[in-house]
Each structure stands twice: as C-alpha cells, then as structure tokens.
C-alpha cells in the first residue's frame, strides 16, 4: 500500500500511509484509539474508498472497490465485530458470497461436506451444521477465519482478534496464525496488546493520528519502544492500590444461586457472589461464558430465573433499573454506545439520563434545565471531559470521553455497588488509565466494585479478589495477591485447577 490517505470531515484518518505485507510474515499494526488502523485495513479490504494512494498485490496495481474485489484478489478480513449471520449454520456462513446468487441450486449436503473438508485441511474443525449464533466466541472467530481460507485468501487481515479471548484461546489463535504464516500467507493483525506483538509479529507498523510513525522488522523493536511510538510518552503508571485491610467486612452485593437463561440453556447457572465494601471483585472468563447474562441480571436488563440478589442486605431481585438505582446500584455497560449513551443527545442530557427519570431535575414534570446544565458543567470539570461543552452531542466525543460521561453519570449517584463490564475495552492506554484511576477511587470511598473484564492484566491490576466464570459457573476464586496466572488461564479454558 502506497500513500493511502482518507479524510472524514475534519479528521485525517490516514495520512499518506505506506504498508508492505510479505508472504510468510505476520505484520502487526499498532496505534492508539482513532489512530487509523481500522481505516487502513478497511481500505485494503475495499470497505473504505481512499482519497489517495494505491494498492499493489504481487507487483501489479489492484483496484479494490468492494469486498467482493478484495476477496477475488485473495484478500480477506476478520472484523473486530464478527461478520456472521447468527441464524445461519456454520456452513452457510462460510460459503456466503462464493456463488452467484442466480446459481439456483444450493445443495446443502454438498456444501456441508466441502466446508467440513476445508476445515480439516486447515486444521480448523467445526461442525458445519451448527447454528452459528449458538457457538462460543472463539469458535465463531474460527468460522470467520475458515470463511476466508475457504475462499483461498492469501492475505489475511485480523482487526483486534484477541480483545475478547482468554490467554489459552489467544495462544491457540496465535498458533493457528503461525501455521497459516508458515504455509506462506501474509497476515496483518491489529492489536493493542504488546505481548502478542512480541510473540508473533515479524514486522510492525505503528500509526499515530493517521500517520505512520514507526515500522520495523522483528528485532528492531521492543515493547517499550512501541509504547513510546504509539503514545509519544512512557506507559503511565497506575497509582498504588491501597491494601484492603483498613475497610470493613460488610457485604454490599450478594447473589445466591443466581440462574439466568441464555440462548439454549442456562447462561448463568447458580452463581453465588459476594462483593464487600471497598473491594474490587474481578470476574474473569472468555467471552460468552455468562458474563453478559450476569451483568444483565444484576442490572435489571434480564430477568433472573432463580436465585436472589441483595444490595446492602435488601433483596433487589427483579426490580426495575430505576428501583435498582435507588437501592444504590450503578453500572457501566460493556457496550457503552448501545446501552450506556444516547448518542444523539447532548452531553448534558446524557449526564442527566438517570437523574431525570428519578425525578431529580423537574418541578411538577417541567424540566429544570438550568440545574441540568449546572450539574453537567460540574461533572465535566470534575471528570475532565473534553471538550467541555455540555451542549455537544455525545456522539462527537472520543471513545474515552464517552466512557467518562458514563462513569461520571453513574458515580454521581454515589453508589453502594458499581458494576463495570469491560470498562476499558477499545480505549487507548491513556484513557484506560484514567478509567482505572476512577475505579480505584470509588473503591477507596467504600463502594463495592464488580469488574467484569476479558483483560487479565486489568483484572490483576485492579482486583482484590478474582473469580473465573466458565459456562456460567464460578469455577475458580482467589485473592488477587496470590493469583497464579497459569491456574487462571486453565480455569478460563475449563480445566479444573489442581488445588
């Protein structure tokens, strides 16, 4: 790729970027949030039309106007959000787009056979007749990869493929990638995780504000130099976590035998969880092991089928979100744009989103708009939300600042219990550190924090205790100080750790 540029309004997402992928190499693309990684990769895959620049494949100039063109040229992409149709079978997803639509004869047995054979050939065995939406996330990712290989892709692009995986899954994914590389394919991988880069990348490119700021072969970089290139600064240090000894032993959040139904069975099967005052309890696990349902049940979005939930000793099972707020609950959903924010409303309105329905900002039904604005200005200042204009639509804020809006709103209630799901996913290092600081801060003030995350480093940094969810059950629990990373990884993969 030569001199690729793309402008969105005022942001220059890619600024004359050069990128070379070699056969038999893994090329890592790094950068902060919004650095332009996804844009660059999407350009290669024909999803984004560049304003300038050209792409050559095997020495000849390639015109890639659509994903169809890219696939025909042997370029395939696994997206950060999987591009699978949940209601179709694995085989159907794999063969999607391989035939012309008006080739009328779709012969299911033949299709399933060829998908099975392809899976065996590439070492990715998946039941072709399974319904895709019912599969665990790491298997869905395999389906995505198989989809590309089935079509003979020689250049594979993976956008943040490890964000939702546990260490065991990450290792096995890296193995698959390594073997594909060794077969002579070119692989581009976008990631925020430096250890992976060090483990697999033959070559790196670092983007910053759309510009290429570093590129080099294995050996010419280390984790520290990459971090410096990405952020332009040293990795920020977290403040030291205060020991937990000085806090009382009161349980603020307790679940007993909590059961939540999910697609085809119990997503959470009888969880007993306790979070004490001034404690961060980390919930580890591979995506799809009941985290979403646990979060949903605790926050009132989903109904619990069995069991009970208590906050400060009061039963709150089955209460509406508003009643839960009143009972002292606050939460930061993983999908902040989908469940946390109303993107088309202003920052001020989003900051008031919970207080207005609670009746805190109206007199006899009429909104007190001055009060809403004053409160917004106060929160913007105290959480250092940028830009500091309460009237801007929240959609125009960066991801990190959007997350701050959610946090500010939730913490403004001075909650007894805070439940945070993947609060830093997709945030760059600086923004993530800011969020971490906030979480530790409320812990200091006695809030019980339940932190659900796929990022083990984050869990270990913040948690006082960590438990592991596997297939909806708590299979492992330990004090953070004594955590053994191998045991944790085994537990996440479903192996009972030896006691």
């Amino acid at each position: 790729m030569h001199g690729v540029s793309k402008r969105y309004g005022d942001t220059l997402a890619n600024d004359a970027v050069d990128l070379t992928l070699h056969r038999g190499e893994v090329h890592a693309v790094l950068g902060e949030n919004g650095a332009g990684k996804t844009t660059l990769m999407s350009t290669l895959f024909g999803l984004v039309a560049p304003d300038a620049g050209r792409i050559e494949i095997d020495g000849t100039e390639a015109r890639i106007g659509s994903p169809q063109d890219a696939l025909e040229l042997g370029v395939g992409m696994v997206h950060q959000h999987f591009m699978l149709v949940p209601d179709l079978t694995v085989a159907e997803n794999v063969v999607l787009g391989t035939e012309r639509p008006f080739n009328l004869s779709l012969r299911r047995p033949a299709v399933e056979r060829s998908v099975r054979e392809a899976g065996e050939r590439f070492g990715i065995a998946i039941d072709p007749a399974a319904r895709t939406g019912a599969l665990p996330v790491e298997i869905q990712q395999r389906v995505e990869i198989l989809k590309l290989l089935y079509r003979g892709a020689e250049i594979l692009i993976l956008d943040e493929p490890t964000a939702v995986l546990g260490p065991a899954q990450i290792d096995s994914l890296l193995e698959v990638l390594a073997s594909l590389r060794d077969e002579g394919r070119a692989i581009a991988i976008v990631t925020h995780k430096l250890p992976e880069v060090m483990a697999i990348a033959d070559r790196v490119t670092v983007l910053k504000s759309g510009r290429r700021v570093l590129s080099g072969e294995r050996g010419s970089f280390d984790a520290a130099s990459l971090a410096r290139a990405m952020t332009g600064a040293e990795l920020p240090e977290l403040p030291p976590r205060a020991a937990r000894a000085d806090v009382a032993d009161t349980v603020r959040l307790r679940t007993k035998g909590l059961v939540v139904a999910g697609r085809g069975g119990r997503a959470v099967g009888g969880a007993d969880i306790e979070v004490r005052e001034g404690e961060v309890l980390g919930v580890a696990g591979v995506e799809g092991n009941g985290q979403r349902e646990l979060f949903g049940a605790l926050t009132g979005e989903l109904a619990a089928d069995e069991g009970s939930i208590e906050i400060d000793g009061r039963p709150v099972t089955g209460l509406s979100p508003r009643a839960l707020h009143e009972a002292g609950l606050a939460y930061v959903p993983a999908d902040r744009q989908g469940a946390g924010l109303v993107l088309d409303m202003s920052v001020a309105d989003n900051l008031a989103l919970a207080a207005v329905p609670a009746g805190r900002f109206d007199t006899r039904g009429l909104l007190r708009r001055k009060a809403i604005r004053a409160e917004a200005e106060r929160l913007i200042e105290s959480f250092r939300i940028v830009p500091d204009d309460p009237d801007l639509p929240v959609a125009s804020l960066s991801g990190g600042n959007q997350q701050k809006v959610v946090l500010a709103r939730e913490l403004a209630r001075r909650p007894a219990v805070l439940i945070a799901a993947s609060p830093t996913q997709g945030l760059d290092v600086g923004a993530a550190a800011d969020v971490h600081r906030r979480l530790l801060d409320v812990r200091e003030r006695g809030t019980a924090v339940l932190l659900i995350s796929y990022d083990l480093d984050e869990l270990r940094q913040l948690s006082d205790r960590i438990l592991v969810l596997h297939r909806g059950a708590v299979v492992y629990e330990t004090d953070a100080e004594r955590v053994d990373i191998d045991e944790l990884g085994m537990a996440m993969a479903g192996h009972q750790p030896v006691a």
Partner: protein
C-alpha cells in the same frame, strides 16, 4: 357453485385469499432481504391497473397479467431507487407511494379506461378434479391466478430456502454488513428482491382484475395490501404459513356472505362481520408477537458505514 354452505364459504375464502397470498409472497421476499415495503398497497393497485388496461384493450388475459408483472418490476425499480439507493425512510415513503398510486391510477383510469371491462371471465374448471365433492369446488373451480398462487407457494419456498439467492437474501436481511464483507452486493440484491417481490405483489393486484371481469375501479384493492403485511408477520416469513394465514383472512371475509345460512351468525350485524378480518388481524399479530422481523428489516443500508 354447488354443495353446502361450508363449500361456499371455503370456495369464496380461497378466491378472496388469492390476492392476499400473492402480495404476501412478494412481501416476504422483500422483507427477508431487509426492506419493509409498506408501498405494497400501491404496487398492487398499479399492477391491477396495468392488468385491467392491457386485458381490456387486448382482450387477452395473458397480456393483462404480463403487463401487471411489468408494472410490478417497474415499481420494484422505483422503490429500490428510493429505499435502497437513496436510503429514504421506508415506512413513510411506502405510505406515500401508496397515496400516489391511488391518486394516479384513479386519474389514469378515468382518462384511459373508463368503465370498460373484458369480454370473458377468468374461471377455469379443472376437468375431473373440479367434480370432487367439496375440494373440487373449493380448489379446482377457480381462476387461473388462484391455481398459480397455489403453485407459487412451493416455488417461493424453494427460492428462499433451496437456492443461493434465498440464502443471500436471508443473510443480508439479518446482517447486511456480514453479506457485504462476504462479497455480496447488498444493494443490488435488495433491488432484485424488490423487483421479484413487487412482480408477485402486482400479480396479486392483477388477480383482483382477472377474477372480476377485467375492469378497474378506483381503490380496487381496498386495503388488501395492508392486510398482506399482517399475513406476512403472522406467517413468520414462511410461504406455506402465508398460504394458511391468507386463507384464514379470506374465510373471515367470506363469512359475511354465508352468515344468513349459518344460524349462529344470522343475527350478527353486518358491520361487525365486516370488522372481523381486521380484528382477526390484530389478534393474529398479538399472537404472532414472538415473530420477529428480519433483524435489518426497514433499516436503510449504506455500504461501508458501520
């Protein structure tokens, strides 16, 4: 028409169901591709007008039906331009398309057609089969387009579940991005779905004309397109179920015409009987509430945007 009152009831029910079924078959293809075509009423009406014009002027029923199909394809392209290319809001555009079709066909019929009707009627008894008691009258003593509708059900069913086209259409109706990244031209395929679906919908309009002496009158479809929308929901986007649901409405509508002979209905006011199909639709939609529209149905799609 021979046989008992139930024979009459079902024979009338089948005849009244056929236009609904055509429209529902067309609509379910369109909706599965991710487009909600509320303009269905207008497409039916335009199809009916096209059919009546060609049928009356040429005297050939085949020419009438062919013209209706052409009109349907044209409607499909126009709607594709609006819904798919330009991304106009589908609910509002659809309603307004129906408004335009109603006013437009009224004006055109006045100018071009008057009250002329064709020479013949469409009924075609199938030799032998039409003699069977009950089923003979109910199923085999109908118009050609009723038979064709019965044939169309398995064909559409096959199209949607046994072909690549159907697979792709279902994929882009659920997750257009997934289709696009797999190399399917989402907008092109939705255009095709609209064209094919509107052709079937227009045949539904034509079937009203063919069944009733080939003439046209303003608002000939009388809201049947909107009922077909409900048929599709009730049928959960399955062609076979669409046939059953359409029949349910057809029979509900026919009930008023045999009410006198059904003792228990004889004293129900006729207005209540007229309300029956609509109320039944509401009840049906409530019971079909678990039936979800295809995930992307009604959402305009822009390639490359998240």
């Amino acid at each position: 028409m021979s046989g008992g009152v139930f024979t009459t009831l079902f024979a009338l029910g089948v005849a009244l169901a056929a236009p609904l079924l055509w429209a529902a078959l067309g609509e379910l293809i369109i909706e599965q591709s991710g487009v909600l075509n509320i303009g269905i009423e207008g497409v039916m009406l335009i199809g009916a007008f096209g059919c009546a014009y060609a049928y009356v002027r040429s005297g050939s029923m085949v020419a009438g039906i062919a013209t209706a199909m052409g009109c349907g394809a044209a409607c499909g392209l126009v709607l594709a331009l609006l819904y798919v290319r330009l991304g106009a809001d589908q609910i509002v555009t659809g309603i307004l398309f129906s408004v335009i079709a109603l006013a437009g066909t009224t004006v055109l019929a006045d100018r071009l057609l008057g009250t002329d009707v064709a020479e013949k009627t469409g009924q075609l008894d199938i030799p032998g089969l039409s003699e069977i008691p009950f089923f003979g009258t109910v199923l085999f003593s109908q118009d050609p387009l009723v038979y064709a509708a019965i044939v169309a059900v398995p064909l559409v069913s096959y199209l949607m579940s046994g072909t690549w086209f159907g697979l792709y259409v279902r994929a882009i109706g659920a997750r257009p991005r997934a289709g696009e990244t797999a190399g399917i031209g989402v907008r092109a395929l939705r255009t095709w779905a609209l064209v094919i679906g509107c052709v079937l919908t227009a045949i539904g309009g034509a079937s009203l004309v063919v069944a009733t002496s080939g003439g046209f009158s303003p608002n000939l479809t009388a809201g049947r397109g909107f009922i077909a929308l409900a048929v599709v929901v009730l049928a959960r986007w399955k062609p076979l179920w669409a046939a059953a649901a359409a029949l349910l409405f057809g029979v509900a509508q026919a009930l008023q015409f045999v009410a006198d002979e059904l003792g228990f209905l004889a004293h129900v006011p006729s207005d209540v009987l007229l309300m029956l199909p609509y109320l039944l639709t509401v009840v049906a939609v409530v019971f079909a509430a678990g039936s979800r529209y295809p995930a992307a149905c009604g959402v305009p799609y822009r390639p490359g945007s998240a």
